[in-house]
Symmetry: none
Subunit: 207 residues, 4 copies
Amino acid sequence: MVYRRTTATEERREARRRLLLDAAIKLFSQHGFHATTVPMIVTEAQSSTGSFYLHFQNKEDVLNVALKELGQAIAKVMSGLMRTQPDALKRVSLGVETLFTFLAQNPEQARILIVESSGLSARIEQTRRAILMQQEDQVRETHESAPSLFAIENTTIAARCIVGAAFEVLYCWLEEDPKTRIPAAEVAKAVAQFNVQAVKRIPAKPR
Amino acid sequence: MVYRRTTATEERREARRRLLLDAAIKLFSQHGFHATTVPMIVTEAQSSTGSFYLHFQNKEDVLNVALKELGQAIAKVMSGLMRTQPDALKRVSLGVETLFTFLAQNPEQARILIVESSGLSARIEQTRRAILMQQEDQVRETHESAPSLFAIENTTIAARCIVGAAFEVLYCWLEEDPKTRIPAAEVAKAVAQFNVQAVKRIPAKPR
Amino acid sequence: MVYRRTTATEERREARRRLLLDAAIKLFSQHGFHATTVPMIVTEAQSSTGSFYLHFQNKEDVLNVALKELGQAIAKVMSGLMRTQPDALKRVSLGVETLFTFLAQNPEQARILIVESSGLSARIEQTRRAILMQQEDQVRETHESAPSLFAIENTTIAARCIVGAAFEVLYCWLEEDPKTRIPAAEVAKAVAQFNVQAVKRIPAKPR
Amino acid sequence: MVYRRTTATEERREARRRLLLDAAIKLFSQHGFHATTVPMIVTEAQSSTGSFYLHFQNKEDVLNVALKELGQAIAKVMSGLMRTQPDALKRVSLGVETLFTFLAQNPEQARILIVESSGLSARIEQTRRAILMQQEDQVRETHESAPSLFAIENTTIAARCIVGAAFEVLYCWLEEDPKTRIPAAEVAKAVAQFNVQAVKRIPAKPR
DNA sequence: CATGAATGAGAATTCATTCAT
DNA sequence: AATGAATGAATTCTCATTCAT
């Protein structure tokens, strides 16, 4: 049956790939990209070096795949939630909150995005930047969809500020002791509030 | 002459160290930490491997020293300029502008701080964070020096937002084509404005 | 077939390991431990650096493994021959002769044991001493199995004397020109005789 | 005054050389030849690298000088004591005792001779062997001076046995805890006794 | 004579990737 | 497809020795 694409074999193949990818994400997050060796990944995934190279081009490729997957996951989460909100200002606020919360719930991926994928190859840098830019684009679009609500001149800079602010706070939050740190939702709200006030137009004082 | 502590030998030693450090900064900034090898550094500095290890414990140590030096330079620039400004809000604005401008004028060090020192050892991470925290502390102190001017509840988060915003914009600016990008001073102003509006208390509309 | 524990892969692995070990023994014996480099070993074994570190922890580890193997070989040779001899004095004599002859037949290992493994790390020293002590213990046991035959007070010292004597003569013999030196068997006999006379009780002259 | 060879300057020079030599002996004995670096020696001697090479050809040279000095010291001690003893058997006994005791009193040099100078260059090996041979020669001469007293056929082998026995016991003694080990004099006596009995002719039982 | 900074050859070791089984 | 042994290029770092001051 040539028609069925997803045979049992392919499913097993996909499962193995998943295992390797998850192992890599876990280890990259824990030890960083360079300190994680391919043998470490295949041991963690209970697989073998040969298999690894059957599923990924090379070590960097896994990181790249992981980042792309994360980018898609973020995009999905964001687009879903943002379409429903008609108020542009609230959309900014909701966007920041959602992004923050989502990444806080996926701390390993977040760490990889923020810390571990920095300073590697140009290809990784590009994938990494694509995720940030995707966020910045979204913010920019929102701004431009209702300019009258915003007090911003350079929307590009504003968008970058918003994303930068969110990621820096997220990074610090990830480093904090999970037992004692402020709940993610609360921090997300504060960051959203900061950013919204930064960009919203303050109505002129009435007579 | 008891006064001369720095003999000719010591001066030469220090000069050699400087040469190595500058070469390392240049190369780290260009190729990244991992892609820069010790032979590359010593060739650039017209020195030798042996000398390198005479002046630095290992490759990571140079990066650490470079970061620490940058931290001190930033602290110096910031403290000088900020003491003179009595208005807390303006101090925030000036601080952001100064930080941004200073780093934009030292793009190699800025790149190392923002991009290349990420995801390395714990020791480097600590030095790197110390610089960011130093900035965050300064922002926080300013907030707390005149709370009535600010609309912020959690000053820690606000401080992190400000620093994150500045660094993200700076990072993007560094990546842009030097020939066509907006002048640093202008970008610095925009970032400062964003951050100030984010934190300042908007006076209640008088009846 | 549950019985076959050693798969073809494992056999090849073991063969490669053997090749490396033998090459190392040969070179250590020829040039000494420090003068032998890992590249030299892998070239001799027609293998590669990577393989070397796949089979051994580091350069010192090969030496350690070689010494341990030698220790076992000696133990095997000694135990086999000594169990059959009921007369304690003859057992001492036979032991010395056997040890000497065995090492004379394995001159590379003997050189490593006597000369090249001296003055290295504590770990090597321990392995080396374990072999000597194993011999000393054997001598001591023999003494203590039939005390009336021996004129020795301190059996520990006597045992050390015997081992020291044997190894010193062996060392000199190894250094001599193989073409002109006295046959090992003859030297072994002389050493055995020396040691036996040193320890045996001389019956009191009858009236 | 050209005639005076030992000027104050030369004395100081000699003193410096002595300092370096003693430092080297101490460190070689403690850490072994390879683990001792020239910087370690000059630091210990409160001197400088340059000075080191002013007094010695290279690192190996210090070891060689130390060994030669030790060889002379041993020769002096032995010759002095042995000339006075007319009985050849007692001379053997006294020789072994004296050698053992002398080295036990100079444990650092003893360690270097027995352990640390093994497995190095041919030149060192030669110096090292010269010391052992010097002892063996002495034993042999004694044997040959009064053959009727000895039951030995091959005096060379006997001499080597004696030296080997003494050094092995000495090595073990040096390794033992100084607080709990048997006094050197006692061990020396036991070794001497072992060796004497090994070589002396036992008079035929008279009718 | 003394100093110690500079040199650079040389060694150990790692690890991404390949490929025979 | 899966395995894991084998490869060897590449990198870090050490340390004996030299030599300008």
